[in-house]
Amino acid sequence: MATSKNVLLIFHQEVMYKPIIHNLVRNFDLIFNILEAKILPRREGRLILELSGDEEAVRKGIEFLEAEGVTVKTIADQSRRDDELCVHCGACTAVCRPDALSVNPETLEVEFFPDRCVACGLCETACPMKALKGVNIERLGDAV
């Protein structure tokens, strides 16, 4: 079955300059989009990819990355909205391009679809209640 998944890849210093992505493309039948990339001052590379392809190929590709020493986090498992803090004001929907945060036109509740999140971090800035956590490429996966 075809699937698509947004993942964060963390390249620690030791593996930062290995041709891992090159091998991922060559050896696995995967389509990917680079959604965001960042090199942190602590010499750690971070890459957000949308991986799509056959479910089996996606799984194997991730296994390969992990075997090469890359930390792989599924973004949907990392991004959180604290429903106790959220007041459904809608301010976050102004900045969320992939519509991971959107207003339900019937109920006017703000719905969160972590599967669509690309960890751009903009909603963290936009939310007046600080209800969105871990949705920033720099801090994602650190201590959620």
Binding site: H88, C89, A91, A94, S102, V103, P105, L108, P128, M129
Partner: protein, 393 residues
């Protein structure tokens, strides 16, 4: 025109016979039965709003210690409260930022803590640290005070918001080339999005646009407890142009509201951090409208399609105080998720919570139908427009 008085409605509340509906329910009733029929059927319409409301704050009296003190500077959790009122009284404003906050040194600043948050913490029952200094007098010799206290330890705590429920309000866009961080949220460049802040058809002052029932003495739901309208708010501007439904198409009516902070609830009083702008307070307000006659009924039946607001450029026009609105849009379109402005389709985002506004209108409805909440007849009415639109048959 047949009329009812607030007194009559209150006695119906006591007898458990009062018919109360929310402002949203009233739309269909007025549409089906006409203003006259609706006025006969319904006694009270409840409204609600929940959003960031600057011009909010609390008067706090923190009580005397021994020896006594006439505080000249007061800080609560490092947020300054204005102390030039009396010996141990101060006013803590929602937009006062914590001392030492980096502000917009790295733009946009996060403004993680300020007066609004202190108010939320107090209402949540959390301990806060109060520090005060004084120059010392013969009658008030103490010069320094530090104490940890909760809301219960305060001698008095009165929420007093000089301008809340500003109606109507702008739809904000940004015509400039850079992203801007405003009190109307984050606005992307070249008019790539629009924001607006209202509970629309549930909004108190949009359901009584000529202020016929809402005035000084109107009892309200305030921050989860009860409060009172104590004056027209600052910047109250009844002469703003209105549409054919009598709804102002720009900033017009505002309310000053007051209530005992000690009986409020943090669900409806929340500190807010607006990136690049500052701190504020989200306030929940619900106002009951006594359906005195068919004109009141007609206006309380207003729906989002009949309410328009001006589209304003926050990239240049608003900050510079120049330019004209780019046009008018109605709330039905704004709530639909996108709107057309100058031939361009733009995604829209609300900034006020209709979910919570609805919740407040329903709570107030229950309070009244269960007999636990009497209406306060307005003792003084606000300045209003010289002429009112005609009520259709």
């Amino acid at each position: 025109m047949s009329t009812k008085s607030v007194e009559e409605i209150n006695s119906r509340i006591r007898e458990g016979k009062c018919v109360v509906v929310t402002a949203e329910e009233m739309i269909d009733i007025v549409a089906a039965e006409g203003p006259k029929g609706a006025a006969k059927k319904v006694d009270v319409v409840t409204t609600g709003t929940f959003g960031t409301m600057c011009s909010s704050g609390a008067f706090l009296n923190f009580g005397h210690a021994s020896p006594k003190m006439k505080a000249s500077k007061v800080f609560i959790n490092e947020v300054e409260a204005y102390a030039g009122i009396a010996a141990v009284d101060c006013y803590l404003g929602a937009t006062q930022v914590r001392e030492g906050d980096p502000l917009n040194a790295v733009h946009p600043g996060a403004f993680s803590y300020g007066g609004g948050h202190v108010i939320e913490d107090l209402v949540a029952g959390k301990e806060v640290t109060l520090t005060a200094t004084s120059y010392g007098t013969d009658c008030y010799p103490a010069r320094r005070l530090t104490k940890t206290m909760t809301l219960a330890d305060m001698r008095d705590a009165i929420l007093h918001n000089p301008r809340n429920d500003y109606r109507n309000y702008n739809c904000a866009v940004n015509l400039s080339d850079r992203t801007i961080y405003t009190y109307m949220g984050i606005l992307r460049p070249r008019m790539n999005n629009a924001t607006f802040s209202t509970s629309g058809q549930l909004s108190p002052l949009l359901n009584d646009p000529y202020y016929r029932t809402i005035g000084v003495g109107t009892r309200i739901f305030l921050g989860g407890g009860t409060g009172v309208v104590t004056w027209a708010g600052t910047q109250h501007a009844p002469l703003t142009p209105r549409n054919e439904r009598g709804i102002p198409t720009g900033g017009a009516g505002t309310l000053t509201v007051t209530g005992d902070l000690k009986q409020m609830n943090k669900r409806y009083l929340r500190g807010a951090s607006l990136a690049g702008y500052g701190t504020s307070l989200m306030v929940g307000i619900g106002v009951p409208i006594p359906v005195l006659d068919e004109e009141v009924a007609y206006h309380a039946g207003v729906s989002n399609r009949e309410i328009q607001c001006p589209v304003v450029d926050y990239g240049n026009d608003y900050p510079q105080g120049t330019g004209e609105p780019l046009g008018l849009v109605n709330y039905e379109d704004l709530f639909s998720g996108s709107v057309e402005i100058r031939g361009k389709r733009i995604p829209t985002s609300p900034l006020a919570s209709v979910v919570r506004a609805r919740e407040i209108a329903n709570i107030l409805k229950n309070w009244i139908s269960e007999g636990g909440f009497n209406l306060g007849a307005a003792q003084e009415l606000f300045p209003t427009a010289p002429e009112r639109v005609k009520v259709p048959e």
